[in-house]
């Protein structure tokens, strides 16, 4: 069973000629089949956690370990992490002009699966996955994220999640900027992947709204660069009612 283990992870970032510590000792274990929600106020370091796990060059790891099934993730390049089974659905997916969605998806699937998918079954696979996400077939011929609406970008991220079948999926504020219909469609996509039981999900969000559609097994409150409280789904209800105020007082947050 695949397990992502994060131990005492410390991360800094360079900003305004100063080094700033954003993650101050994060501990978390995500197992295949589990869904963990990480909730926290803006600026608490949630997204830094997501991007650090994926290996974004902007962040410097200064301490701690991250392993996936015992393999040292921090030693891997960004593409190696993806091929090892980590997936990051990004909050702000970037435009890649000149590269069509269909070309991108196939190149990515080839890299992740280690061989090119058979063309006939692949076309069908993509078509069906797109239909499930209410994506128009013309999408495949557009350039990656170019001119996509916010909702289209997020659906495109979840389309990749469905096709690439990672061991651990990190969803960074996938719910932000979505209307209720789009949120439902995207959540259904995430749930289809979860129902396979083969993915561990790390759902990073500011709002409790998405948790009505995606039921977490564990909820963690993130503040001031680390997890400050963990519990079951009931912790989300508490946050819904009381907000983050209890965690941000006393300078716990940035």
């Amino acid at each position: 069973m695949a397990t992502l283990e994060i131990r005492d992870l410390r991360v800094t970032v360079e900003a305004d000629n100063a080094t700033k510590e954003i993650l101050k000792g994060v501990d978390l274990t995500v197992k295949q089949g589990e869904t963990h929600a990480i909730m926290g106020p803006n600026g608490s370091g949630k997204s830094t956690l997501a991007y650090s796990l994926a290996g974004h060059p902007k962040y410097t790891i200064t301490g701690g370990t991250v392993t996936l099934d015992g393999e040292d993730v921090l030693e891997m390049s960004v593409d190696e992490r993806a091929r090892a089974g980590l997936f990051l659905a990004m909050q702000y997916p970037v435009e890649v002009p000149g590269v069509s969605v269909s070309n991108f998806l196939r190149t990515s699937a080839t890299a992740i699966r280690g061989e090119a998918p058979k063309l006939r079954t692949w076309v069908k696979e993509v078509k069906e996955a797109m239909e499930r996400l209410n994506m128009d077939p013309s999408f495949a011929e557009r350039n990656v994220n170019e001119g996509f609406s916010g909702g289209e970008k997020k659906r495109h991220e979840i389309l990749q999640l469905e096709l690439l079948k990672p061991k651990v999926a990190i969803l960074d504020e996938t719910d932000s900027g979505l209307d209720v219909d789009a949120l439902r469609i995207v959540s259904e996509g995430v749930n289809r992947v979860r129902e396979t039981g083969e993915v561990g999900t790390l759902l990073i969000t500011h709002y409790t709204r998405i948790l009505r559609y995606i039921k977490p097994d564990h909820v963690h409150v993130f503040a001031g660069g680390k997890i400050v409280e963990s519990g079951g789904a009931e912790l989300a209800d508490k946050l819904e009612n009381e907000g983050y105020e209890a965690y941000t007082k006393g300078g716990a947050s940035e």
């Binding site: 994926a54 974004h56 593409d79 992490r81 002009p97 000149g98 590269v99 070309n103 690439l164």
Partner: protein, 393 residues
């Protein structure tokens, strides 16, 4: 001017994009067109037409110190049956018909060449195989003149291939009879030291179509002037260009489409990728719609993709319209950058860095390559693009 638009989309930190305000195509040259080199002062580098070009790397082509070596540059023509291939003296009437040198190097080439090549496709002859002209340098200096003439309703594809190491200044004339169709692919696949400065003059007959594909990969300095004018109504010109500018290379393409006849069309699309320190690409796109050119339909576009820091692009589209009675006129120029965020996004989907870069560059050029319509050239170009990427990644 009216209907003109400049859309610089995302410039670069290291690269830059310049978009000219209105200026007059004719008056910004430092001397009027002439066949005689003495009519042009030796450029000092601040003239409008020379300001982007590193004169010190022209190997004397601009100041009269370059001397033809007589050997060291060979020109071989391979033509299918029915085509006439000649070498003629300076007094041949077909020379210089399509256009007049517009700068000192072109005039120098015209003043200095000894024999000109003339390739003629007789009227109504439709070729099924390309005419191939191989220009190969072995370190020599050459002043050249080449004429390619198609009779009425003739159809031909010409591939001019430049390889090796040379210092070459040349004029190439394309003369299209009424209803003729000519595709010319000029490939600059020079070695690193080569210097190549040339003016291409196309004179398009009534209802004739001209397609020029300029592909520049190699050379230390390449500066080309593809120019088009019309001998009658209903002519069409498509000018496509593709360049891949590496570290230290200067590649300059200066186009002019002179809409001097009514109801003609032109479409210009140039795309370039740049990588490495001091890679410098220059694109000047001048379109002039003269008062008599009613019914003109023209569009020009330049796109650049900067792959690394340290590369520079100067892109100057320029549209001058003397009549409002036209179908359409527009231009666009944009320089984009393959940045770390794009690379991260593709890598986060399991795609290795070199593959990611290849994916983006291939995508950038693919559409243009498909327009060439000469299969072996398309294949070779794609291979060349791959090789350029391999060399640096």
């Amino acid at each position: 001017m009216a209907e003109a638009q400049n859309i610089p989309v995302g410039s670069t930190t290291a690269g830059s994009i310049a978009v000219a305000a209105e200026s007059t195509v004719a008056t910004r040259m430092s001397a009027p067109p002439s066949f005689d080199v003495r009519d042009f002062p030796v450029p000092h580098g601040r003239e409008e037409e020379w300001r982007f070009t590193p004169l010190e790397r022209l190997r004397g082509l601009h100041d009269g110190t370059a001397v033809a070596t007589g050997e060291g540059v060979t020109v071989e023509v391979e033509a299918p049956e029915g085509v006439t291939v000649e070498t003629v003296g300076r007094d041949d009437a077909r020379i210089g018909k399509a256009g007049t040198p517009v700068d000192r190097v072109a005039a120098q080439a015209y003043s200095a060449f000894e024999k000109a090549g003339v390739v003629t496709v007789p009227k109504e002859t439709v070729l099924t195989e390309p005419i191939r002209i191989a220009v190969h340098g072995e370190g020599g200096v050459r002043f050249g003149h080449q004429v390619i003439e198609l009779g009425a309703f003739a159809e031909a594809v010409v591939v001019i291939d430049h390889t090796g190491d040379a210092v070459l200044a040349a004029n190439v004339d394309y003369i299209l009879g009424d209803g003729a169709k000519l595709t010319v692919v000029s490939v600059q696949d020079w070695d690193d030291e080569a210097v190549h400065v040339a003016q291409h003059n196309a004179l398009i007959g009534r209802d004739a179509s001209f397609k020029s594909v300029v592909v520049t990969f190699g050379g230390d300095l390449v500066r080309l002037h593809p120019r088009v004018s019309y001998a009658g109504t209903g002519g069409e010109a498509e000018l496509f260009g593709l360049y891949f500018t590496d570290a230290g290379q200067h590649q300059e393409h200066r186009l002019l489409v002179d809409h001097n006849a009514p109801h003609c069309k032109s479409n210009v699309v140039y795309k370039g990728a740049l990588q490495g320190d001091d890679a410098h690409a220059v694109w000047i796109g001048d379109v002039l719609i003269e008062a008599k050119a009613e019914g003109t339909d023209t569009y020009e576009m330049n796109r650049n993709l900067v792959l690394t820091d340290g590369a520079r692009v100067d892109s100057v589209p320029n549209l001058e319209i003397e009549t409002g009675e036209i179908v359409g006129a527009g231009h666009a120029s944009a320089t984009g950058r393959f940045d770390d965020e794009q690379l991260f996004y593709l890598m986060a989907r399991g795609i290795p860095a070199d593959e990611a870069r290849r994916l983006v560059v291939r995508g950038f050029f693919a559409e243009l390559v498909q327009q060439i319509g000469v299969e072996d050239i398309e294949t070779r170009l794609l291979e060349k693009i791959e090789a350029e990427l391999e060399a640096t990644v």
